[in-house]
Each structure stands twice: as structure tokens, then as C-alpha cells.
């Protein structure tokens, strides 16, 4: 753990390596890539300004994600953010690649994901994409572990409904797209 670098330098390395994660997380929260990047910028500035409050060796990603999350909620309260684009930022992201590579199922997934409530998107990303523990996610979101589990489960159920992933059906199967099946 002791690398011989100053805490500032170690933190800077940490920020560099985690900025892609912050950008991805911000995009799942925000309505546009530009707003997401503005949010990440604000997060990095705040994190550096308050770096004395970060305990070296503790969970840097969780600390940064919490700062970003709080900044997002604060801006949302000020109604700085528009309502999310219904097609979703992730769908925009993938639409070009999808057409080229045939990954239409990922576009469906992204569009379905964008329809989830914000707290479900957040919980699913923290648990299912970033690999935080339920306990850590609950701490970061300021709620009970059971609430996180409930949000994750609801998100999964809703995604399954919207994308047709259920009962072992593959996306693209005729049986998966028929309404009301099973």
C-alpha cells in the first residue's frame, strides 16, 4: 500500500484512473453527455479541493462516486438538468455502433435502461456494473441495504420485461417478442 508517492500524487493517479468510471456513472444519471462531463469536472474539482478529508487507503472509488452523486442530486434539486432524453444517452452512444455491428439488442437494452427511474439505474450500475457491495452502495446512497436490493431487483425485472429477457429466452427470438408470453 505504501508506494513512496506523496498522498497528493497518489490521489492524482487515482483520479486519472477513475475518471472513466465517473464519466460512465455520470452518463447513466444525466440526460446528456455534456451534462455528464460537466458533472465529472465538478466532481474532480471538489474531490481535489477536499482531498484532506480522504483517508489514504480507503475506498477512493466509493468516495468519488459519492461526491458525484451528491453533486448530481444538488443540481437536480436546482432543476439544472433537463428531463432525461427518453431514448437515453447510452442508446445514442451505441446507435452508430449498433447499426454497424448488428448489436441491436444492446440498443434495446440501453433504451430500456433509460426508462428506469433514476434510483434504480443508479443501484443497478453500482451493484451490477461497478461491483460495489450492497453495504457500500447503501452507504453511498444513504439508504438501507434492503432498499438497494429492492431497487436492483425492480430494475432487473423491468429490464427483463422491456427487453424480453425472461425464462431463458434470447433477445431476437420470436417467442421472446410475443406479448403476454409466460
Amino acid at each position: 500500500m505504501m508506494s513512496g508517492l506523496s498522498p497528493d500524487l497518489e490521489l492524482q493517479h487515482g483520479l486519472v484512473s477513475l475518471t472513466p468510471n465517473l464519466r460512465a456513472f455520470a452518463r447513466t444519471l444525466c440526460g446528456s453527455p455534456d451534462q455528464a462531463d460537466d458533472l465529472v469536472q465538478e466532481t474532480l474539482v471538489k474531490a481535489w479541493k477536499h482531498r484532506a478529508s480522504f483517508a489514504p487507503g480507503s475506498n477512493l472509488k466509493a468516495w468519488l462516486f459519492t461526491i458525484l452523486r451528491n453533486a448530481y442530486l444538488s443540481e437536480r434539486r436546482k432543476r439544472k438538468y433537463e428531463v432525461s432524453d427518453p431514448d437515453g444517452v447510452m442508446a445514442e452512444q451505441l446507435s452508430v455502433r449498433g447499426e454497424q455491428s448488428g448489436h441491436m439488442d444492446l440498443i434495446d437494452f440501453s433504451k430500456s435502461f433509460a426508462q428506469l427511474p433514476a434510483e434504480q439505474r443508479e443501484a443497478l450500475i453500482l451493484i451490477g456494473a461497478e461491483g460495489f457491495s450492497y453495504e457500500d452502495a447503501a452507504l453511498m446512497c444513504g439508504c438501507a441495504v434492503g432498499t438497494i436490493k429492492s431497487r436492483v431487483n425492480r430494475a432487473r425485472v423491468r429490464l427483463a420485461e422491456l427487453t424480453g429477457i425472461k425464462d431463458g429466452s434470447e433477445i431476437g427470438d420470436d417467442t421472446a417478442s410475443s406479448a403476454g408470453s409466460r
Binding site: 483517508a55 461526491i67 432487473r156 429490464l159 429477457i165 431463458g168
Partner: protein
């Protein structure tokens, strides 16, 4: 041992209305797996994008600003 993450810019977050709905029946494990893989695939693509210059520049500037400056406590 996890530390309290709630520090910078924190404020109480109210429970969302959807939290009060009855819990949904858990999804079958296989469906969970499929969703998880798609999620990670989409998220992974976002992670692997090149970083815009604005962040590279910002991070370099932050490091420079620490020379001679004392960091603030939260």
C-alpha cells in the same frame, strides 16, 4: 472495514416514491445473468472510451495547483 463515504457536499436524500411499492418477485437467476452481461457490456464500452482533453488538462492543473497550497478540510 469500510469508512463513511458521505462527506463532501452531502445532504439527506429522500426515499423515492417507487421504494414504497411492494417488492417485485425476484428474477430467475439465468435472466439475471443475461441482464448482468448486457449491462456490463454496455457499461464496459463507455469505460473504454478515450478521455477528452478537458479532463487530462484539468487533472494536470489540479496537480500543479497543489504545489505551495494547503488542501482544505471538508
Amino acid at each position: 472495514m469500510t469508512s463513511k463515504f458521505n462527506s463532501v457536499g452531502a445532504s439527506a436524500g429522500a426515499a423515492e416514491e417507487s421504494d414504497c411499492q411492494p417488492a417485485a418477485v425476484p428474477l430467475p437467476v439465468e435472466a439475471q445473468g443475461r441482464i448482468g452481461r448486457q449491462l456490463q457490456q454496455v457499461y464496459g464500452q463507455m469505460l473504454s472510451e478515450p478521455m477528452p482533453d478537458r479532463f487530462t488538462t484539468l487533472l494536470q492543473n489540479l496537480a500543479k495547483s497543489s504545489e505551495g497550497n494547503e488542501p482544505e478540510s471538508a
